[in-house]
Amino acid sequence: MSTQLKNLPLDAENIINFSSHRNEPKWFTNIRLKAFELAAKLPLPKPEKTRIDDWNFTDFRFDTKGTSVKSLNDLPEPVRQLLDETEQAGSVLIHHNSEPVFANLTEDLKNKGVIFTDLATAIQEHGDLVQKYYFKTDKWDKHKLTAIHAALINGGSFLYVPKNVQIETPIQAIYFQDASSSGLMAHTIVVCERGSSVTYVESYLSDSSVGSGAANLISEVFVGENARIKFGAVDHFSSGVVSYVSRKAKVEKDGSLQWALGQMNDGYTVSENDTNLEGDGSSVDTKVVSIGSGAQKQNFDNYIRHAGKATTSRLLVRGVQKDSAHSIFNAITKIEHGASKADGEQTQRVLMLSKDARGDANPILLIDEYDVIAGHAASVGRVDPAQLYYLMSRGISKEIAEKLIVEGFLEPVVDLLPIEGVKKQLSELIERKVG
């Protein structure tokens, strides 16, 4: 076989085998094969001011095995901590080394027609639905990383909420990697049909036993007419894992979406978060926090497109940079011609904690319509000496005062996460990464 990806000793036959082992339908296998062929040819994405050519996106094992668990108590500690103790019987899906190992959906939700399962099962049991939404917010042949993803998908989740179903309790997915050199290629689809609502929280974590590995994640979110989705996430891959994480959403008429993302990876990261406000009156509220530490390099793209009339977007990006970390933050608000009465506002703030760290915030407004409101603010700065003085004047030591200020700076996302265990994990991650 001629097609080969650098460092990825695979051929089309391996892919066919993997696919048939998973009982995948023809259409899905075909995308895998086409994507595999293109993956070798397509260029890497070109994130602003970040060279990623020599990052390891391809050297990993993708056919790793998870260990099924009968009870949540058998889960590894870091995973168990993410679950709310009070919600033992909640709707949760747990993946270990990219395989589903525990799944629960409450009877009530099942009866209402809600589907929540791993992607492989969804493809088999609800193939048409998956096909309807698979790679619809973005194209799989966009660049090398999307193609690698489409070729080698080995995990993911599928959440479908039918018309007019309101789900109160958050739905949770957890991905835990500990197999050496493993690569997680997880594809997630979240759909809320007209008039429904849901809160979904995904957590990614890896143990240092992975060593050098990769994560290539794509989550697609569809907010139907008048539907409402709150999407929370905490990413925490260990330092050897190179991540490409793409979260893309489309919002229909009068739908609303909230993103609350805690991007706490310890390794190199390229992140794309896009929202397409397609329908009139649709809205999005995006809040993203991150910490760069060690010698980490990261690039965060946050993109909001206003296509519908009277669409509203709020984007808040906050990043802390310490040690010799290096991050680029791009925020793009695009208002299309015809999107009259659109209102888009973005704020990016980067807090520098060391002189060796680098952080860049690039605010971009692209506006093709007159009757709109658009605003941006971007700043890169240090801890405010006046705040520090104020806290210290109450007897708080300089170190703790700084920590309080930094934690406060990242609080907006912690505040929004609806699951106590995940909230706590993010707080602890922040504390640890900042400390």
Binding site: M392, S393, R394, A401, L404, F409, E411
Partner: protein
């Protein structure tokens, strides 16, 4: 325990190379409340900031001791733990940090590791003090001073004062922006602190606050130093006459311009 004493001798302070405070002397003992008045820009807040250790304010001469200890050698947080408190004219906002977390951290900073205040006790104490200041309970969970009105910020300063129970407090224009009722609650808070183990310097422009918190002494500051000292009647006189009469009487000219 001997009564605490804050002693300021011949204090000179510069801000950005400009000399602002020029020979300020003051001695306050536990149990005493002093008021410091004076025209805008004479250096009242500068004295307060220098005592607390604000990094912008450079002490070029003189000494400040608390119970005989030289506080000018201490870092800001050490001064606070030594027993000093400054209710600031313009308190900072700290987003994302709740008032309760902030106060608990501050209290525990003073008490030291292993001697932290029990959570329930903290909550009860805070509830009680907030009630006394007529502050809504929601202020405990709100971020420090963020979105507080001017008067709410001032009340929050007094809440901190009451929670931290310092030996000495400097209250810098704690009455500005307070409505008449709030002024009474704040005064009630300060009066509740009164004891032989607590001394206080109140910086104010208005005599009204001194009706509620009776000072032992009133000092008037001009051009970087105290120019006259009296009892509560001095504040009344100033309210009537303003500073001009006093300037003429004491033969004080407006501050000479400092050459660049």
């Amino acid at each position: 325990m001997t009564a605490p004493e804050l002693k300021i001798e011949d204090l000179h302070v510069s801000v950005e190379g400009k000399s602002i405070v020029k020979g300020f002397n003051l001695d306050i003992k536990g149990g005493e409340i002093h008021a410091l008045m004076g025209p805008n820009g004479t250096g009242k807040s500068t004295v307060a900031s220098a005592i607390m250790g604000h990094p912008k304010y450079e002490v070029t001469q003189g000494s400040v001791t608390l119970d005989g200890r030289n506080i000018l050698e201490m870092a800001v947080d050490e001064r606070a733990r030594a027993g000093l408190f400054l209710a600031m004219q313009y308190p900072s906002e700290v987003s994302g940090v709740t008032n309760a977390d902030f106060l608990r951290t501050a209290i525990n900073g003073r008490r030291g590791e292993g001697n932290e205040i029990p959570l329930m006790k903290f909550i009860k104490t805070m509830d009680k003090k907030m009630q006394l200041l007529e502050m809504d309970q929601s202020f405990a969970e709100r971020y420090v001073n963020e979105g507080f009105s001017g008067g709410e910020k001032k009340r929050n300063e007094i809440l901190q004062l009451m929670m931290l129970e310092p030996e000495f407090a400097i209250l810098d224009e704690i009455d500005s922006g307070l409505d008449i009722d709030a002024l009474k609650w704040v005064a009630k808070g300060v009066n509740a602190m009164r004891s032989d183990h607590f001394g206080c310097l109140i910086i104010t422009h208005y005599q009204r606050l001194l009706n509620y918190i009776k000072p032992d002494k009133v000092h008037v500051m001009m051009n970087g130093r105290i120019v006259t000292t009296g009892g509560p009647e001095l504040a009344l006189r100033l309210e009537d006459e303003g500073y001009d009469g006093m300037k003429a009487e004491l033969g004080i000219k407006d501050d000479e311009t400092v050459e660049a």
